[in-house]
């Protein structure tokens, strides 16, 4: 059986689904009988969800979208100084 330290060492690999089924089973068994470790896992799960959600705030800018669409021949040339240096 895993102790708390060994379980927490697997925390990130567990949350990232990088453990083998046998390793996941060991972590789950520990979490089921431990009062101290589950809050760590829940906190880090919330953290990862927050980072994932922040993804929505980091898309491409309108300017670069225009330039790329022009490069790919999907739209007309961008206006003014947005023209790419297309060889």
């Amino acid at each position: 059986m895993l102790d708390c330290r060994a379980t927490v060492r697997r925390l990130w690999d567990y949350l990232d689904h990088e453990l083998t089924p046998a390793e996941v089973k060991e972590v789950n068994e520990h979490l089921a009988r431990c009062e101290l470790c589950p809050p760590h896992f829940e906190f880090e799960r919330a953290f990862l969800a927050a980072v994932r959600k922040a993804r929505e705030e980091r898309g491409a800018s309108a300017a670069v979208c225009d330039r790329v669409r022009y490069i790919l021949g999907l739209s007309a040339a961008p206006t003014s100084d947005q023209n790419p240096q297309h060889e």
Binding site: F47, V68, L74
Partner: protein
């Protein structure tokens, strides 16, 4: 080395196959932009990196294999363009045990519980702070966080896209996460979150 050197190694794409190369490529532009920002130091440089990535992809479109993972192909081109622009590789990371980083993260969580800060994700919008904190990470950490934590890559695919060992992905990722959490803790404190009012683990 060509920009499309890893093209043949990418997994099959799950996107619809009735799109043209150009249509498929542009579908990934938000992902490529996020990745470019993880490499570049500012948004202007990132935009230039995205543009150069697509220019090279367009020129090398004959080397793209139908059914290959377009997004990963573009990430690899983007990374190579960036490395070439830097004219050197910044690839120095000590190989501390990644598991120790998880222990450190749990320790940080304990401190945040003590300070009444542990539920900050439920109580304040940390999105802008996360974006800012990612931007402030050391350059070698940023692309790993973006690929794994934002784009949903597993360690192996991130390692392939960045052409680094899986162990390096893990160590950089775990360390970056701890730095992000420390930055978010500072953000929470600056926002007046936590403190004695919520201190449930006081000394009484």
């Amino acid at each position: 080395m060509t920009d499309s050197s890893s093209e043949d190694e990418v997994e099959d794409d799950e996107s619809p196959t009735d799109c043209t190369f150009e249509e498929r490529a542009v579908q990934s532009i938000d992902d490529v932009a996020r990745f470019a920002r993880s490499l570049a130091r500012n948004d202007d440089d990132a935009d230039d990196l995205v543009q150069e990535t697509y220019l090279r992809a367009f020129r090398g479109r004959h080397t793209w294999r139908e059914g290959a993972d377009m997004r990963r192909w573009l990430f690899t081109i983007c990374k190579n363009v960036f490395l070439r622009s830097m004219e050197r590789k910044r690839d120095v990371v000590s190989l501390d045990d990644a598991g120790d980083e998880a222990i450190a993260a749990a320790r940080l969580h304990n401190e945040m519980v003590q300070a009444g800060e542990a539920d900050l994700f439920d109580r304040i919008d940390v999105g802008p702070a996360i974006v800012s904190a990612i931007h402030d990470l050391p350059p070698v950490y940023r692309p790993v966080v973006v690929l794994v934590d934002m784009e949903g890559y597993n360690y192996e695919d991130a390692a392939a896209a960045l052409e680094i060992p899986v162990g390096t992905v893990r160590s950089r990722l775990f360390r970056a996460r701890r730095q992000l959490q420390e930055a978010l803790r500072e953000h929470a404190r600056d926002a007046g979150f936590g403190g004695a009012r919520l201190n449930l683990g006081g000394s009484a």
